[in-house]
């Protein structure tokens, strides 16, 4: 007889969810698994080896791609987080802001347009104004699409924060700047940090724009990985992928914990 005690539960959903999580994690686990394969042919297991990791770390093309990605991501993250914070303060907290809704749409514009379209548009712009420096092109393009990712967590945090706190600070003789630095900023810091981290990961992970703007000396990590994939599946590629995954999981975990912080 069926036990009607919890009418909210549906039989089978648990098993289904279990299978779903297997599906979600099996593919990336396969990559990790094969990265330890001593055999040069990926799908033939030839024993455990860390050989491909040492090979990857001494691969100069990889190292330079990581460098390019880091330079671009760090600069794009810094700029986008600062301008997103300024915009969020006005959009959430500002008084008598005209076109508040429109302003928010403008800030989120990169999320509304397909990335490939924005990427080709940027490519045309840069070719028209004759900008040649690959890294500068990447920094400009990445800053643009990182802004909404930095903006959204900051906005959420600001909306969750009691506006009375700022007024209490002002009431206690704090100037606008002191109120911001001593009250608002510390309280929204987790949002700012998780926004920055999101922006960083999005920049590091970007392929579409970076690939299209790819020119001499400005090959980012995903674009480099893409070129390796084009050459075919290889154990070193698996090792590189595993390293990338480790780094992004670490970042994601920190960002997740930051967002949960109350």
């Amino acid at each position: 007889m069926t036990n009607g005690s919890d009418v909210r539960r549906y039989p089978g959903f648990g098993l289904f969810s279990l299978l779903f999580f297997v599906y979600l994690y099996l593919p990336i686990s396969v990559v990790v698994f094969y990265s330890f394969n001593a055999n040069r042919i990926v799908s033939n297991w030839g024993g455990f080896s860390l050989h491909w990791y040492t090979a990857a770390l001494s691969n100069s093309a990889l190292v330079s791609a990581v460098k390019v990605s880091l330079i671009v991501a760090v600069i794009a993250t810094t700029i986008s987080t600062i301008v997103a914070l300024m915009a969020a303060l006005v959009i959430v907290r500002g008084r008598d802001v005209r076109f508040r809704g429109l302003s928010e749409t403008v800030v989120n514009l990169p999320l509304l347009l397909p990335e490939i379209v924005v990427a080709v548009a940027t490519l045309i712009l840069f070719s028209q104004i004759g900008l040649a420096n690959g890294i500068v092109k990447l920094i400009i393009a990445h800053t643009t699409f990182c802004i909404p990712f930095a903006f959204l967590p900051i906005r959420a945090r600001l909306q969750g924060m009691d506006a009375d706190l700022e007024e209490a600070a002002r009431d206690l003789y704090a100037s606008a700047w002191i109120a911001f630095r001593r009250v608002t900023l510390p309280l929204i810091l987790p949002g700012v940090l998780s926004g920055a981290m999101l922006a960083f990961v999005i920049s590091m992970d970007d392929f579409i724009t970076s690939n299209l703007l790819n020119s001499g000396g400005a090959t980012t990590l995903p674009v480099y990985v893409f070129s390796l994939i084009k050459q075919g599946v290889s154990p070193q590629l698996n090792a590189i992928s595993t390293l990338i995954m480790l780094a992004s999981i670490a970042l994601a975990t920190v960002a997740f914990l930051l967002q949960r912080q109350r």
């Binding site: 007889m1 069926t2 036990n3 009607g4 005690s5 009418v7």
Partner: protein, 364 residues
């Protein structure tokens, strides 16, 4: 147990037999047994966490008893899922489906029971009339006031003509004035439909006002079951005396027990004989006397003491006085039926009195 309360033929609508509930390691309800009769307005009354809602949810089928059985008109409904029990619930939050109109909400249960469209429409129209909501048939719940939602929830639960209607604190979300009006409406509905109502509340006034019988629950067990008058006048323990209405508790020493009567010496210094529950000769007990049963000033009461007015609380229809006598403070309520000039002032010396019949002795 208080069989004089059952004026109608005592057909049992619900039988609760040794039902208990344990959540994890927490015993929400110790094993309880009682019957609810047909056409009765039965109330489960108690403070929050006393197990009353758990009991209601077990009758509805949302929780399964850890032990015991529940019978609905003689048949065991143990293990039957909620949608196969001919009982309906009025939820505390009303739980009206926000995506359905008033009509669709009321018709939902009938649809699931397989009623034809014509029969359904007729029934829905009847129900709308019953709760005076004809004009709102097409509205969504969000477009109704609290009182209107309450009426729709009632109509929805009554429409399938359940064998028992369960009401889970249905008035708690309404404001005071509306609550009073809905009480009257609930009573009228119960009489009109003749359906057994099982009503859960923590509001003792509501329970006294509405119920044919009240089951007072506390600490997961039945404290007392009886008519409102019996529960108020003859509470069976300190918990009930304290929870229902207001009372003054005084320490007492039991001298002798003779059947229904016990003789005690009280804190006030006198010895008196009054009705009791569980008093044992030679042991300590409590004496309970309701504020309205103390005369101020003492008339020709057999028991009278001198005291001083220590405080007054003017509440319009009544005034509460705090009178100190021999180091004990008594709360006394007095109807303001005479002019204000006749009222007492702080510091005034008074004589207060009461009758031994008004006193209840409760074993410690």
């Amino acid at each position: 147990m208080n069989d004089e309360a059952c004026l109608r033929a005592p057909r049992k609508a619900v039988e609760i037999k040794g039902v208990s509930k344990v959540f994890g390691t927490y015993q929400a309800l110790k094993p309880v047994s009682f019957d609810i009769y047909d056409n009765e307005f039965f109330t489960l009354l108690g403070p929050s966490g006393c197990g009353k809602t758990t009991l209601l949810r077990m009758i509805a089928g949302f929780e399964q008893p850890t032990t015991g059985k529940i019978f609905l008109h003689g048949s065991n409904i143990q293990g039957l899922p909620p949608h196969k029990r001919r009982v309906n619930t009025v939820f505390q939050s009303y739980a009206l489906f926000p995506h359905m109109s008033v009509e669709q909400n009321i018709g939902f249960g009938l649809e699931n029971l397989g009623w034809s469209k014509d029969r359904r429409d007729a029934r829905v129209a009847d129900m709308l009339r019953l709760v005076h909501m004809e004009a709102f048939a097409g509205r969504k719940p969000q477009q109704l006031s609290g009182g209107q939602r309450q009426r729709v929830a009632l109509a929805r639960a009554l429409a399938p003509e359940p064998e028992v209607l369960l009401l889970d604190e249905p008035l708690s979300a309404l404001d005071l004035k509306l609550r009073q009006a809905m009480r009257d409406e609930l009573r009228i509905l119960q009489r009109k439909t003749g359906i057994t109502f099982v009503f859960v509340t923590h509001d003792q006034e509501e329970a006294l006002d509405l119920s044919d019988r009240i089951c007072v629950l506390g600490d997961g067990e039945i404290q007392q079951l009886g008519t409102p008058a019996a529960i108020y006048e003859e509470p069976s323990n300190r918990f009930v005396a304290d929870f229902i209405g207001e009372t003054n508790f005084l320490d007492a020493e039991v001298i002798a027990v003779d059947g229904e009567q016990a003789t005690v010496t009280t804190q006030l210094g006198m010895t008196l004989t009054a009705s009791h529950k569980k008093a044992v000769a030679g042991q300590k007990a409590f004496m309970s006397i309701r504020p309205e049963k103390i005369s101020l000033p003492a008339q020709d009461n057999p028991i009278a003491v001198d005291g001083t007015i220590m405080g007054t609380n003017y509440l319009g229809g009544y005034t509460y006085y705090l009178v100190e006598t021999g180091g004990i403070r008594l709360r006394i309520s007095k109807r303001n039926s005479v002019s204000r000039g006749q009222m007492f002032e702080i510091g005034q010396s008074v004589k207060v009195g009461f009758a031994a019949e008004s006193v209840r002795i409760l074993g410690a």
